[in-house]
Symmetry: C2
Subunit: 392 residues, 2 copies
């Protein structure tokens, strides 16, 4: 098993949208293609990209991670089932990297790891979800994945009517659960933001028949404890599906304080990029394994090799994999959700094109989706994304 070549590029995923913390007008993503040859003369090319919220990593890829990947010893790439073992490549990529400081490089490694898993599944002539179920769950994959439509961003001039129209489009696509941003566009005073958000939430809830379990709200880490509690008190009567990332992702102690006072489900984790950071959230964040949601995104956090460590850590701490619903809305996490029995996956029907959304011929029904049977992650089955990747 041998790494034959690695190619990389940068594509824009810019958009006029904003959440409460950043705007996305200059957002980019790295794309890579990794070609692997097995001992029997077969080759497969796997593809990878980073999901939104963190930037492309052309510098780190060229400076450190692609050169090290190309030096991976072939023996370390052999899995006991005869296929490709991405963990060997992961160790080679992380050689001479100090512990701690998990950001940016976690994205560069995550992009390459995604491509390696795509190649591993193609060499095995299986969809990735099936490869994962076979390797880690005795073949038991889920039939479908639960997904929800994430949107409801702030953009200039967007009023409640436009927000409700957007959510109606998600319902029309087959989603029954939707997510919207709250906390105010960057720079909005909190008192003003709360008043406006209550009006926005009530408008969307009206569309959803008043059923709070069909609506998630997302702050993107803007609040301190005071604002998180004030919003929490306002949100509590709506009995929402979840209240996402109210606080700085690393402020575990404040999460613990909030979790004592807000009874509904909290969700966080998309900005924690290693097993060690995830473990600190579990140890110190006071979250509740019977209700809270963990959103670690394998594409941003050293890939699936690290995500397997995170799942193992969660199991040791009494957290079932079903409490994980990854951030990012990509097919990689969707395969992981089905193959490893997660609670579901995010979906971006209208933003972050062409990386948001799943295979073309897989309609959403009642917020659930079936995965294609084509070998690999399934990028070739999503025309708009394949148009970007095939040129690599």
């Amino acid at each position: 098993m041998r790494i034959v070549s690695v190619r990389d590029g940068v594509v824009p995923i810019a958009s006029a949208i904003a959440n409460a913390y950043i705007d996305f007008s200059k957002m980019t993503a790295s794309v890579v293609a990794v070609t692997v040859a097995d001992g029997g003369g077969r080759q497969a090319t796997g593809y990878g990209f980073n999901s939104n919220g963190r930037y492309a990593q052309p510098g780190l890829l060229k400076e450190r991670f692609i050169p090290r990947l190309l030096e991976t010893s072939p023996a370390t790439l052999e899995h006991a089932d005869g296929g490709l073992e991405p963990a060997g490549a992961w160790a080679a990529m992380m050689k001479n990297e100090k512990p701690g400081g998990h950001g940016e490089r976690s994205v560069a490694v995550g992009v390459l790891d995604m491509a390696l898993w795509d190649a591993a599944a193609k060499l095995a002539r299986k969809p990735l979800w099936k490869l994962l179920a076979d390797r880690y769950r005795g073949g038991a994959a889920d039939e479908t994945a639960w997904i929800y439509a994430a949107g409801g961003y702030y953009y200039p001039g967007k009023d409640n009517a436009a927000l409700v129209e957007e959510m109606q489009r998600y319902l029309d696509l087959g989603y029954s659960v939707v997510k919207m941003k709250i906390g105010g566009a960057p720079g909005t005073p909190l008192r003003e933001a709360l008043k406006e958000d209550v009006s926005r939430i009530e408008a969307v809830l009206k569309l959803l028949g008043g059923d709070g379990s069909r609506l998630c709200v997302d702050v993107n880490g803007r609040f301190g404890l005071h604002a998180a509690l004030a919003y929490g008190a306002a949100l509590e009567p709506y009995r929402l599906r979840w209240y996402e990332e109210p606080l700085d992702p690393l402020d575990y102690a404040t999460h613990a304080a909030l979790a004592e006072h807000y009874p509904g489900p909290l969700a966080t984790g998309e900005n924690l990029f290693s097993m060690q950071d995830a473990r600190n959230l579990i140890r110190h964040g006071g979250l509740r394994p019977d209700r809270d949601i963990l959103q670690f995104d394998p594409a941003l956090s050293y890939g699936l090799v690290e995500y397997l460590r995170t799942l193992s850590m969660l199991e040791q701490h009494g957290w079932p994999a079903r409490r994980c619903v990854p951030h990012g809305g990509h097919q990689f996490a969707l395969n992981i959700a089905v193959g490893l029995g997660l609670g579901g996956n995010e979906s971006y029907p209208e933003v972050f094109a062409p990386f948001g959304g799943f295979a073309d011929a897989t309609p959403v029904q009642d917020s659930r989706i079936r995965l294609p049977d084509a070998p690999g992650i399934g990028f070739e089955a999503k025309a708009s994304l394949w148009a970007v990747l095939k040129d690599l």
Copy 2:
């Protein structure tokens, strides 16, 4: 106040040395020059670099942080004293960066922040230590800084005699406290490493007249709890100055367990790159403000603007600034130590040239050093470093 230009480059700081976690054969550093013009027609060029252990950041600098720095609004760069306020540039550089994930970008921002402080001091016609004392301590700077000689790395063929000769050279230079690596070169089994390290430590202690308070030992994050306790039990009778980075830098709970069992001073923090990460160590790491040492390195962790936040956080938690002895052995942290009253600074007399070591005409006496009075950080007063920086 206006950013006129930013130039950057990459230089090797490669060496045959190794610690217990990585080898340094491919280590690089970014160097930058930032020219700032004040409103009165004066210009100053400040210089910056990243200290060892993390790699150069040419990609992140070019992709995100230099372009944003060049777009900084002039008004945000004005300090109340009429000089340059780097915090305005910091906010501009971090625009549209999500919270969490503090690594790599913390190095890129740290390099630029160092150059901005060098420029700020030059515009004020003061050494940086004096500017800091004037802005933050009512003018009260220390007269000298405590420093210790860090070395004792593993390299192929190095025996106890060579280690003792190295330490003798540090004593001859005027250091009375020295530091050596322990934990074994990468790949050494732990039982073998411990036996060898006891022999190495006893050889060095003999040179130091048996005085453990003159010797620090550094594991570089390699151990788990079992190895850390086994080493701790072996080290305890020597009453060493400190036992550095025994554990993964993010494994706060295990630090707390170790601190309950190892009575001597522990030191850590060089691989925590933000105020939030430092705060988690303080909140959850079980460290003891009466004895333990905090080694956050401003050059690797978003610079002095962030380090001021960290010092403020420490004060709130009952930790005096004197417990801080930054990692990195650079003149930037040395100025901060003297200007803000830290406990001291690391020094690398023989490694990481030309970035290790301080101004040429400032001899070390009894492990203390006086800083030059030239404006800025003092790079121009260190010939070997200035030879690298002046070409930018």
